[in-house]
Symmetry: C2
Subunit: 237 residues, 2 copies
DNA sequence: CGTCTCTTTGAGTTAATTCAATGCTCGTGG
DNA sequence: CCACGAGCATTGAATTAACTCAAAGAGACG
């Protein structure tokens, strides 16, 4: 499963902290600092698989840099992206013996892998750790709910606007700011339950309406964040 | 919030167990037996609201009988049903200070309401309780993933077949068995991200194809469970 | 600098929707 | 007990949002 790992090295607590401080790596979520010491860093090239749905769930991961897509593949090749994980975020924290989805690197990705047994042991011993894990799961539930509403009840324009708005919000961007768009159009389509052509058309429409700009394929400029939010909420255009 | 509660009474541990034994009420999930003692029984009439999205999340609920729908309402009235909860199942177990969805009684419902503070205290004290809660959340994640794939990437026939197949599976039904269908066609539509007309048409098609029967509005007879599963998985019709 | 992949745009098709009409159930009251 | 009315379900017809298919354009990369 980890054939694509370019290097894997066990690092000391101090080494990770030093690296984080040196390179501006994202901080561990509050309450999970105790995990730092048990992680191993692994790098994945764009498009490679981190783990596959159904694999024994041996590890929990945290993204250090790059973006990861979590997806479900159907027998006939259809794909639904469940969520993306960006720098600082965790995935594979569920209490299940097999992974519920496949995790793939969108771009160049470095993760820290924590042995699940360790995570569970720390959870048992340290109340703040389990509290944080539980909170994290609850947060992810909220995200899934929003996603489900988007896919189940919103039209293409609303979905694309909602996706971009969420991206901008996460990056704390306001009008004029450029937001990184690491994933492909196909990834966006598979996240939103649309086709790549529909995503392209809606992006073009947003661009023509001066709501966003697309300086290059992998970034967007937020021109009218309020309008973007209105569209995402389904207000008449 | 609990205006619709017809009666609410605090019951002793023994009383609940006795009632469960007497009337065939569903057993508590393994590991959560310790909760039994802190519950209060509440009844809700069909269509009434148990709690509303955004309310302070004071309680965790377990369904004793009847069915509950968990839904998200959009400003313009569009609705997405996130999940249903049937006898024996819990809802409102997330570690969030506000409910993430609205819970409504589909039919005549009796729930046991557990004070969240109590649940959290028990979780802190008893490893098996928190383990069970965590497992439960993980299970619910799996269900949401399946749901998301269904809504995002399956066509109307696959969604309706998938819904019925899941219902039959839950009831452990095989060919010839009748399965209870407590929710309305509109509820099914709002769960599947379809319109009520499309749901009706697909049900009619399944009936004409001898895959199911509909003796009355609120039950279906499973005639060809294998075919139902094939359709749900997206195999050519 | 050619090739390969990804993106964009256009044209035509279709699955699902909307709108409309009818049928069925069930509860209520005469 | 039956008739009536309200609400839910079903079916049909017309419309449309999103899809498929096709071709051209733009980047990335050896």
């Amino acid at each position: 499963m980890h054939m694509q790992a370019i290097r894997e090295m066990r690092v000391s607590n101090g080494a990770i902290h030093a690296a984080a401080a040196a390179s501006g790596l994202p901080a561990m979520p509050a309450g999970l600092a105790a995990l730092e010491s048990v992680g191993a860093r692994v790098r994945f090239a764009p498009g490679t698989t981190i783990f596959t749905e159904g694999d024994a769930a041996a590890k929990t991961y945290r993204v250090l840099c790059g973006s990861v897509r979590l997806c479900k593949h159907m027998a006939d090749g259809r794909r639904q992206i469940v969520d993306f994980r960006h720098a600082g975020e965790l995935f594979g924290i569920m209490q299940l013996d097999r992974y519920a989805f496949t995790a793939e690197a969108v771009d160049d990705v470095v993760v820290v892998a924590y042995a699940r047994a360790q995570v569970e042991r720390l959870g048992e011993q340290i109340p703040s750790v389990r509290r944080s894990l539980f909170d994290l799961l609850s947060e992810q539930f909220l995200a899934m709910h929003r996603h489900l509403v988007m896919v189940g009840r919103q039209n293409a324009k609303e979905r694309v606007a909602g996706f971009l708005f969420a991206l901008a919000e996460r990056a704390d961007a306001s009008d004029g700011d450029t937001v990184d768009l690491p994933m492909s159009r196909q990834d966006i389509a598979d996240y939103l339950g649309l086709t790549i052509e529909t995503v392209c058309r809606e992006l073009s429409a947003l661009k023509k309406a001066q709501i966003i700009g697309t300086p290059d394929l992998h970034s967007i400029v937020v021109r009218d964040n309020d309008r973007l939010e209105q569209l995402a909420l389904g207000e008449p255009s």
